[in-house]
């Protein structure tokens, strides 16, 4: 089962079991919904942006272990980043789960690298990050309630 263990590392299962930053952020700068229409999973991401920095991030919703762990890891990773840094991190995360290697700046989120081996599950991992990207764009455009995005856009 080496293959499964690579995807579902202990740290991934741990984040899935006890996700960080789960719940609504109050106050938030922007609320961003994301869906994965192929499985019906839904995520709501709350972001607080202050002075060009991501001051806080949290999420609600439901999904598989990979999507929950990914959302948990993402909300940890972006905290304190400048908006442009956060957006760059999204690209690096996508690169990683598409098999192009884990950039050091991903930190703990690099435990999800194994998902690149599980082609069918890449979208589960990217949902939270694509929501982050869209949420930051919406915030920059002055929106508080962003338009729902979907990972079939990816």
């Amino acid at each position: 089962m080496g293959f499964l263990d690579q995807v579902y590392r202990d740290a991934v299962l741990e984040h899935a079991r006890s996700p960080r930053n789960r719940g609504e952020l109050d106050p938030y700068s922007v609320r961003q919904e994301g869906v994965n229409p192929s499985c019906g999973d839904e995520l709501v991401l709350y972001l607080r942006v202050e002075g060009g920095e991501v001051a806080g991030a949290s999420f609600t919703g439901h999904g598989c272990a990979i999507s929950q762990a990914s959302a948990s890891l993402m909300t940890q990773a972006v905290r304190g980043l400048r908006v442009d840094e956060a957006k760059l991190l999204v690209e690096r995360f996508k690169d990683m789960v598409h098999g192009r290697g884990a950039h050091p700046s991903l930190g703990d989120a690099a435990v999800l690298e194994g998902v690149s081996k599980l082609h069918a599950r890449v979208k589960c991992a990217t949902l939270a990050w694509i929501a982050l990207d869209a949420g930051l764009d919406a915030e920059a455009a002055g929106k508080t309630e962003a338009e729902q995005i979907s990972v079939d856009q990816e």
Partner: protein, 410 residues
């Protein structure tokens, strides 16, 4: 004679494949069936020997191709026991067949205040075309619930059908619950109020014998890819006297009688509904698939299917923390949805995939049904004529492992 799935498997080249180091156990036939070698050979031979465009040609190849294409139409008619091949229209898939009905018939026959009756267990293919129609024509859609036994609630269905009902559209076999709808009874209710009865046979046609005349349906759709045929082809059967009256859906070559710069007249059925160059080789491949199914024996396939369902239900029920959905009985075929407590179906599927067991996870294009079942999604194992009980054993073992693997999460 009972099916020997272990022998039939040899007819399917892909089943020799390994996945993640294990021999492939393909339990996703309800999403799409694998292809017997005879279908691949028919496709290949057609392209190598007889390919040409159809219905247009003045040369030998074109006449050969047309003959083969039209023979496929006649074969489909025979497969569903349609009284004539003229009433069989080739489409891309079951979905297009239903959209064709919604456009050609629905947009001219339905108006504000009219009602369409469906069940909560329909595939999106039998819901979304009506949503698009409803938005345009002000039609109302009524959804009939399931009874507590996991079958369509026939009393609720009878109550939902009334004088405003213009269409009853429902599945023959549910792609989630594996249950068969009692079509003649439903058709009788529909026809009692003069409603049109459309049957989504996408799933059923692969599992049990189909007789459109006995079913009472006015229209019936199938998808070739679920029958072991190529992708890109399906068929719609409509009662001939009705189909004759329908206006075209799409416009283009082949479906015309006479064209001027700003107006046209249209061909007779079935050509009126086949605009442009059709899926020619795919029709020929579908022909071979239907031959294969009849050779194996469709009544035998259905017995095998039911036995596999019983076996799988029995086997999975023994596992702790596994929930099964759908009824049991003679109206239940080989599609088995389940959940493992506390584990998301996608994660279950990934563990199974690591063992070479291919199943589907999610809403199965039946979101209203998921809502009715009170779940976000399920895992789903689906069987076909090449499925063996040993494969179901491997499924059950892998499910047990998935539970163990995620034990800490649950």
């Amino acid at each position: 004679m009972a099916i020997d799935a272990a022998v039939l498997r040899r007819d399917f080249p892909i089943l020799q494949r390994s996945v993640n180091g294990s021999k492939l156990v393909y339990l996703d036939s309800a999403a799409s069936a694998q292809k017997p070698g005879s279908v691949l050979a028919a496709l290949d031979a057609f392209y190598r020997e007889s390919y040409a465009n159809v219905h247009r040609g003045a040369h030998t190849l074109s006449a050969e191709a047309t003959d083969k294409y039209e023979a496929a139409r006649a074969r489909v008619a025979r497969f569903v026991n349609a009284p004539s091949e003229r009433s069989v229209v080739f489409v891309r898939n079951a979905t297009e067949g239903i959209n064709l009905v919604a456009h050609a018939w629905g947009r001219s026959a339905l108006g504000a205040g009219d009602e369409i009756v469906v069940t909560v267990a329909e595939h999106h293919a039998n819901l979304v075309p009506w949503h698009l129609l409803a938005a345009e024509r002000g039609v109302r859609i009524r959804g009939v619930p399931l009874g507590s036994d996991g079958r369509v609630d026939m009393e609720a269905l009878a109550a939902a059908i009334g004088p405003r009902t213009k269409l009853v559209a429902t599945f023959h076999m549910s792609n989630v619950l594996g249950v068969i709808n009692p079509l003649p009874r439903i058709a009788a209710l529909a026809h009692a109020v003069g409603a049109f009865m459309l049957v989504d046979g996408a799933q059923a046609a692969a599992h049990l014998p189909v007789d459109v005349q006995a079913s009472g349906a006015d229209a019936y759709v199938i998808s070739g890819h679920k029958l072991g045929g190529p992708s890109g082809i399906g068929a719609l059967w409509v009662r001939e006297e009705l189909l004759r009256q329908w206006p075209p859906f799409m416009g283009g070559g082949e479906m015309i009688r006479h064209v001027e710069i700003d107006r046209s007249t249209y061909a007779d059925i079935p050509m009126r509904f086949e605009a442009g160059t059709p899926a020619i080789a795919e029709a020929v491949g579908l022909h071979a698939a239907l031959d294969y199914l009849d050779e194996v024996g469709r009544a035998e396939i259905w017995e095998h299917d039911k036995a596999l369902a019983r076996y799988a239900i029995e086997r999975l029920r023994r596992l702790p923390g596994v929930t099964l959905y759908g009824p049991e009985g003679e109206d239940r075929g080989g599609i088995v949805p389940f959940n493992v407590d506390g584990v998301h179906p996608h994660d279950v599927a990934s563990v199974l995939d690591a063992h070479g067991v291919a199943i589907r996870a999610g809403h199965h294009c039946a979101q209203p049904l998921m809502q009715a079942l009170g779940v976000r999604g399920t895992a789903r194992a689906s069987f076909w004529l090449h499925t063996t009980t040993e494969e179901i054993d491997r499924l059950a073992e892998a499910v047990a492992e998935a539970r163990e693997f995620f034990g800490a999460v649950a």
